[in-house]
């Protein structure tokens, strides 16, 4: 029961709640006050931004024509969605045709190898904008997960052992500020050298992008986990010593729950960084994601390109926001202190 409550709360929309209160005839003044803060002011902010944008954009002439305003961007957003649906329709039709041909071949009693060749034919359409969003999410998810699996244990050991931390600290401090753009060429070369197969399950560009994300995601999680573990209440550690808890039990029962808020702070910072890094990495690695979409549009240079890039910018921002919310939801779910205010 508690779990569903939490989920509801995470995606709670304060203005919607107020509006419903208002419709239900709740105290009008109180609701109106809440409505101003929760609904009108954000709308006002967005409205002013749109006005300034459209007025400003009208003043700028670029080599690709006039800078697009909100209306053109909206239009391109719809176009991208329609293109995606059209592509899906083509893909469905392709598979239908293939199926028919297969049935015909079977009916004609063609040899097995010919049937196999028909079955193995792949649809080779260009990835749509929505496909690219999906690729980006999978890439950032992979890189982030890999980073978390490495960083949390390292952070725990750093927090528990001052000696280990002293050894790790210079490495952390030096590698933390390195830009993803500096990592990328190295990662590309190393992946090319090590990942050699005839039948790649995943593409090299995917691995390169994911590893670059990992390299940039490690540090905030390591640092915050270290702090969280190092500041576990001494009394609780004494309880553990009196009970003679083994290291595994001590970690699970005392250190992890105690450090959980800090670990999540680190994870959320990491995921935010990872998402930013990914777009840059995809541009250079040509991994078929949002970064590549932006790059392709830039190279394409059609009159719609600027508006399409702006759609991508907005979508990137919105997805980044949703990723953070998702982490917050996860934190609420695993946190023992259900009353803690998390934001």
């Amino acid at each position: 029961m508690a779990a569903t409550d939490l989920t509801d709360k995470t995606f709670e929309l304060p203005w919607l709640a107020r509006a419903l209160d208002w419709l239900a005839g709740d105290d009008v003044n109180r609701v109106a006050g809440g409505l101003t803060n929760a609904l009108l002011l954000p709308l006002l902010g967005i409205g002013i931004f749109l006005l300034l944008w459209s007025a400003g954009a009208a003043q700028v002439q670029t080599s690709l024509g006039q800078l697009p305003g909100p209306a053109q961007v909206w239009e391109q957003g719809q176009n991208l969605w329609e293109e995606h649906q059209a592509a899906r329709e083509r893909e469905r039709a392709f598979h239908e045709r293939l199926d028919k041909r297969l049935q015909k071949a079977i009916a004609a009693g063609d040899p097995e190898e010919k049937l196999e060749r028909i079955r193995n034919r792949q649809y080779t359409g260009h990835p749509t904008f929505v496909d690219q969003i999906w690729t980006s999410l999978v890439t950032v998810g992979t890189g982030f997960l890999l980073a978390s699996i490495i960083a949390i244990p390292i952070g725990i050991v750093c927090g528990m052992s001052a000696g280990f931390y002293a050894g790790m600290n210079p490495l952390i401090q030096v590698f933390k500020p390195v830009s993803p753009l500096a990592w990328l060429p190295l990662v590309t070369i190393i992946v090319s050298a090590l990942y050699v197969t005839d039948d790649p399950a995943v593409s090299k560009s995917f691995i390169t992008s994911a590893i670059t994300v990992t390299l940039c995601c490690l540090w905030p999680t390591i640092i915050n986990t270290t702090v969280g573990v190092a500041t576990v209440d001494t009394d609780l550690m004494n309880v553990s010593r009196v009970l003679r808890l083994g290291w595994l039990k001590q970690t699970i029962k005392i250190i992890l729950p105690s450090a959980m808020p800090m670990i999540f702070t680190g994870l959320r910072l990491s995921l935010g960084i990872g998402w930013m890094v990914l777009i840059a990495a995809e541009m250079l690695a040509q991994n078929p994601g949002l970064g590549k979409f932006v790059w392709d549009e830039f190279q394409n240079g059609s009159s719609d390109s600027l508006a399409r890039i702006m759609v991508a910018v907005l979508v990137i921002g919105f997805i980044g926001f949703l990723l953070d919310r998702a982490m917050l939801m996860l934190q609420r779910r695993v946190s023992w202190d259900k009353d803690a205010i998390l934001r």
Binding site: N238, R241, L243, K249, K253, I254, D339
Partner: protein, 283 residues
């Protein structure tokens, strides 16, 4: 005859940037099985340090502690500690906090069902059976301390070590807790070392009161045997001449012989001292 718990000439010093700080010097104390001993002294004199050495959380620089003729070298559940700030794990329920200790101590010797019963039994002993599924954040300070005591008792310790167990509680709750502790002690006959600031608490609960001198290099100043019949009743004792004599002895020790000189004049309530005094520079 060898004693049950032998604190044998222990001393401890810490290295500080200003040089060596000697906190305890030559503390010697023999405690019999089933005895209730209070340690009393001014704040900062090193009472908790003594307790932590017996618990094994600190190692003495000189001397050592023998429990049933075996030297104490590390912490363990045979010397359970009740901490001043309860120290329950806030993410576990009341039941799970005690169960963690029970599983750890009796995981190999008791069945799952027996451990469950033993956990409930100990929580019933401290009158907390109604709040098994609550978390520490949802119960009062007195209740938390009860759970802390249940957790310690559930380990069936040879010695129960209590570090100002009721110091953080309001006085009404404190009297309830003292009565509960006396009741439990009468039933289980535990060996207890308790640290306190409260003269009444010390006299009411103890068989012996160990009064410590001020630090640095604090040591045992005087030991007072409290020969009052058990069970003891705080109302009856309030008028009791022997009880008041014992109280006066402790108060005299704390405020005539070992008061911090500069605090005498500024502390008119010295005769009714229950509050911790501010930590002086030499404490």
């Amino acid at each position: 005859m060898q004693s049950f718990l032998n604190i044998d000439h222990i001393g401890i010093s810490f290295d500080t940037p200003k040089g060596k700080l000697e906190v305890l010097d030559d503390i010697k104390l023999d405690i019999a099985e089933g005895e209730f001993v209070s340690l009393i002294g001014h704040s900062g004199c090193g009472k908790s340090t003594v307790l932590n050495i017996v618990a094994g959380l600190l190692r003495a620089t000189t001397g050592g502690v023998l429990l049933e003729e075996r030297e104490v070298t590390e912490p363990g559940p045979d010397r359970a500690v009740v901490f001043q700030q309860h120290s329950l794990l806030p993410w576990l329920t009341v039941y799970d906090n005690v169960r963690l200790a029970v599983d750890q101590v009796f995981g190999k010797t008791k069945s799952r069902k027996e451990r469950d019963e033993w956990t409930r039994h100990n929580l019933t002993l401290v009158h907390m059976e109604h709040a098994l599924e609550r978390r520490p954040g949802e119960i009062s300070g007195g209740m938390k301390q009860r759970v802390g005591i249940a957790r310690a008792l559930a380990m069936e310790p040879k010695v129960l070590l209590m570090d100002e167990p009721f110091g953080a509680l309001d006085s009404l709750t404190r009297t309830h807790m003292q009565d509960s502790l006396m009741e439990i002690q009468a039933r289980l006959n535990n060996t207890v070392i308790m640290i306190t600031h409260d003269v009444d608490e010390a006299v009411l609960l103890s068989d012996r009161i160990v009064m410590m001198t001020n630090g640095p290099a604090a040591t045992v100043g005087q030991i007072l045997n409290v020969d009052l019949l058990r069970p003891r009743n705080r109302l009856a004792l309030a008028e009791d001449a022997a009880y008041n004599h014992y109280r006066a002895e402790v108060v005299k020790f704390l405020h005539e012989r070992h008061d911090k000189p500069r605090l005498v004049s500024s502390n008119p309530d010295a005769g009714r001292e229950t509050q911790p005094l501010p930590l002086a520079a030499n404490g």
